[in-house]
């Protein structure tokens, strides 16, 4: 799923400082699963903003709603009758949400409430970690199910670099060295020779480096 973190309160207050009436719009997709932008978090943010503004002596009117997804026109259409009545709509979806909303409702201002960070999953309760960099050409099968593009700080195809120590990355003891994991798994499974073959230079055109990407399923296009 897409992982996000809520923006700091100060930044959100700055965004809405000119606003007297806003809507906070949650999303029941990925951001609900990673506990950052679902119904519950919409409610929490609404309360925090109201309290903070009340303290400033400039109360703000905040409405709340959460829709199925903010990355699909069908669900975006559900808020058609609501938008237009607010000084701003704060989207709690990933970066896709405020953009789909802005495209659908050009007269309404939409602000992002979260910083979208990565594609990943829950590694333990309350902790989500990156697993995919969306490079557009998956190589995981070469590395026994572990991705060095997303998980090596240098995206090395021939690691581990000289900074790998005790299974940790040189950038932080909090970061696992994925190459340490790849090498150990290959050794354990008797497939170390896989790593002694030279990998071709990566073609980054399928990643963001090639420009904005689009996926087309011809059979579905009308």
């Amino acid at each position: 799923m897409i992982i996000a973190d809520r923006k700091p309160l100060g930044e959100l207050l700055e965004m809405v400082k000119e606003c007297n009436k806003i809507l906070i719009l949650g999303c029941k997709g990925c951001v609900t699963v990673c506990n950052v932008g679902g119904t519950k978090e919409v409610g929490v943010l609404a309360s925090i903003l109201k309290i903070a503004r009340k303290k400033e002596g400039r109360p703000i009117e905040v409405e709340e709603k959460t829709i199925e997804r903010q990355c699909d026109p069908e669900y975006i259409a559900q808020v058609k009758d609501m938008v237009g009545q607010y000084d701003a709509v704060i989207s709690m979806a990933c970066g896709v949400g405020p953009q789909f909303l802005s495209e659908a409702y050009p007269d309404q201002r939409f602000f992002p409430a979260v910083n979208t960070t990565s594609f990943g999953g829950a590694v333990s309760h309350g902790i989500w970690a990156e697993r995919c960099a969306g490079c557009g050409t998956c190589l995981i099968h070469h590395f026994d199910g572990l991705c060095p593009i997303a998980r090596c700080s240098k995206s090395l195809l021939h690691g581990p670099c000289g900074g790998s120590a005790s299974g940790k990355c040189e950038i932080s003891k909090e970061v696992d060295c994925i190459w340490d994991m790849i090498v150990k798994k290959k050794m354990e499974k008797g497939r170390l020779q896989d790593l002694t073959k030279m990998k071709p230079n990566k073609d980054w055109r399928t990643a963001r480096d090639g420009g904005p990407r689009k996926s087309v399923r011809e059979e579905l296009v009308q």
Binding site: S153, K154, S155, L156, L157, H158, G159, P160, C161, G162, G163, S164, A165, S166, G167, E170, I171, S172, C177, D180, V183, K184, M187, L192, L195, T196, M198, K199, N201, K202, W204
Partner: protein, 311 residues
Amino acid sequence: MSDLKSGSNLEKVLRAGHFALTGECGPPKGANVAHLKEKFSHLKGVVDAVNVTDNQTAVVRMSSWAASAVMIQNGVEPNFQMVCRDRNRLAMQSDILGAYAMGVRNMLCLSGDHQTFGNHPQAKNVYDIDSMQLISLVKKMRDEAKFLNDEDIDVPPRMFIGAAANPFADPFEFRVYRLAMKIAAGADFIQTQCIYNMEKFRAFMKMAVDMGLHEKAFILAGITPMKSVGMAQYMAKSVPGMDVPESLIKRLKGAGKGKVAEEGVQFAIEQIQEFKQMKGIAGIHLMAIEWEHKVPEIAERSGLLPRPKVD
């Protein structure tokens, strides 16, 4: 010696069978050419080539190719370092050609320290290709006179290709395979990370020799003399992939006030004496960090002077 790949002094010294000595010089944090000249002046005639670091520890400095060019103008042979952190494949290839045009004949291919270490941690990291692929790229440019896209190069860069090896990073068992890959990719010579744990290094070299790697590339053992107990403790704790045994720190501490630096130099000299005898070692890479003026003394006391002249 018509079969020389680059014709660099370092290549000639190694191919003639001499025990090589390379030094290192970090470019200044500015365009202070006088300071740069002062630093490498201590190495002139004392080493066979001088590594010119490329924004080492991700701290911005004068570019390594420009500092290399200044060295050449002053009669010192550089070993131009290039890291994968700051350049994509376009910039790499153009800088390789540019460096060659300025007279650079040795080049060390590295991944580079991650930018979070340095003074611009906000920077975007590039890592378009990795160090293994950079070695292969330089070899292709030199031997096939082709760019990465197979277009012809009009006058190819004839570089003596170097790579690094860190026997002290993890996992230890894989390190020798990674070295073998770098040699297979095209490395002509190897410079190792600073060695302090001699026992581990002996084990590493035994594996390398058993695999015949010393017959395929020249392996230079990395040495950085310790200037102080603080430096040893810092390297032990804060430099990733560095292995400083407690016994060495104890030895330095035991030297007593005002004598630690000499003890550090003495340890380096003992290392050099052992490396001269160690099977598979073709020379020394002496990285006297901000201590360039000490190199002539260490070289002299280790019996590495005068340096051979090979035509």
